[in-house]
Symmetry: C2
Subunit: 381 residues, 2 copies
Amino acid sequence: MTSQAAHRVAPTGLERSASADAERAARVLLARISEPEDPAVHRLLAETGDPVEAVAGLRAGHPKALASRLAARLERAEDADDVFIAERLGARILIPSDPDWPPGLLDLQMPPHCLWVLGPVALAPALRRSVALVGARAATAYGLDRAQEIAGGLVERHFTVVSGAAFGIDAAAHAGVLAADGVTIAVLACGIDRVYPTAHARLISTIAQTGAVVTELPPGSAPYRMRFLQRNRLIAAMTGGTVVIEAALRSGSLQTAARAADLGRPVGAVPGPVTSMPSSGCHQAIRDQLATLVTDAAEVADLVGGFGVDAVERPREAPRPEDALSPAQRAVFQVLPMGRSASVEMLAERAALDVLSVQASLGPLELVGLARRTGERWLRS
Amino acid sequence: MTSQAAHRVAPTGLERSASADAERAARVLLARISEPEDPAVHRLLAETGDPVEAVAGLRAGHPKALASRLAARLERAEDADDVFIAERLGARILIPSDPDWPPGLLDLQMPPHCLWVLGPVALAPALRRSVALVGARAATAYGLDRAQEIAGGLVERHFTVVSGAAFGIDAAAHAGVLAADGVTIAVLACGIDRVYPTAHARLISTIAQTGAVVTELPPGSAPYRMRFLQRNRLIAAMTGGTVVIEAALRSGSLQTAARAADLGRPVGAVPGPVTSMPSSGCHQAIRDQLATLVTDAAEVADLVGGFGVDAVERPREAPRPEDALSPAQRAVFQVLPMGRSASVEMLAERAALDVLSVQASLGPLELVGLARRTGERWLRS
């Protein structure tokens, strides 16, 4: 946090662009030589308050333990021309002081050093109104349908949908957005030049052409398991809220949800049949009060969106004529027979009301079409 | 409340049985001449603190408005010999001062004046550990299966299951208990001599032979709609908690749940597919925090049962060998290749660890069967 606050102090003129370039180079180097949530690196950044100084220190062998641990990667990283590589890939590199840096990432204790971004969409405005839809790779047809439908409903409500381009729920969420001509952002757990899973080459390339593909890992990085967990914190932090659609009991999706909750973001979970294993993580999250139960896009918007604007209308059944009745009218209606008719006295006795109240109630009941008179007797109409 | 407190003061000897008989007769008469939740009747009882005195007043025309309103029913009720009728039906009549009166009913603001009970089970001990299972008449196969299964699981856990003998969830819950040779109690919204719905004649008679059938309405009473809602408060109050299995958005089951919550009883709801209308009431109740999400009998027992005794074991997946790893071991495991092998130096660079840490980690990984050595190189085993 300290380091970012420092970066927001704006130098002027040439000094500014020179320092910005130096900072960008330092941050890209830090991304090259360390894993995303390396606590020693973030401790160093917090202490120096400046990535340029931190990198200079590491090059000079300080602090000793960290510099020695990262030495091999540092040596190799010096050869990489990341500005050139990014240009060749058509990607842009963002650092926290850039106006397009996703503001939500500033809430992270160990934020990314920089981001590689492919695609026409500007991140900061697109993420102002955004939801992460995440879930099981081994999803069911029920889960995939929910993901597509909720994603489409969120597009209608002008939300950007963020996910991880994985098999199952992630892919269905992205596809639901694309089918509705909306904006979707895929956050990868590998380099921007890598396609993982390879079967999603076309999906990821479509997202890169219409939305954005984002990663904090430098080009060439492979998708190790730890990197998925680290990637999840970006999805949780950059969005307004996270919704889990299907998730096994111990899964990356629930970890994303937990990280979102830790960051104070609203978390939703879609229920399903209790007999469906992929819904068990959702049910557990709701039971643990980690997540709010959500059933459709309107309820997701209500959870994540702005107050008032997105307030969901409570689902309800159509009002019935009986709803507007007084207690006496209701009591008379209850005892009105269906087939045979009854006298006012019989109705009074059945309802335990006096005759006058029954007479006073029958008129309004007739008026709204609930009672019918035959001679001196009454029945339901 | 005041009146009930008075009844617990125990007179002695003959005086006692004479006063008990008088009270019983007065309460049966009140049940005959008024509907269950008639506020004026309960106000009168609260004022006089004594049903015998209240009935004497009504017979003498006080209070005027109420006495005149109930006059026709009072006149007819004087002819009914309810002790004889109950005997002929094989039913017993309980009043609040009886030891078998369900203690939970004392929490109601407008408790029943008395109860008609058929069946071998003593109510008070059976209800000490009890759950109400309620839900939609128009239930789905999914809901019916859940009701049967949860009911069976509750029998295993020595719970009495209370429901309303209606079509759908109610019937499935009772049936689930009977199939497991457990104790179930049906609370009716009509007289004990009536069978509603008529298609459940055999179910209700089986319950009367093995458990108990209960109602606060005198013999001959028909099942009016209002009486179902009033009946629901008995189900909510006499049990340790209420669980809704499927329910439309505006339904009697949700009203039972709301009454249980008002009485401070725990309330559960079973989720289902969001595409299933009969699950929508359950989802709404969970969203409104009226109900806790429950997926099986163990979670119901956890919700309703005694602390400790019924604490549910959190569902979880089997532990994996990776779970016990240190952060360094985990990092090394992540970068261990699957097919080709890698040198310690390559692993150190990939994991951003120093060579010594990698070497220290590989031993334990080999030991737990996660890493395999080929010459000087390593891979996953």
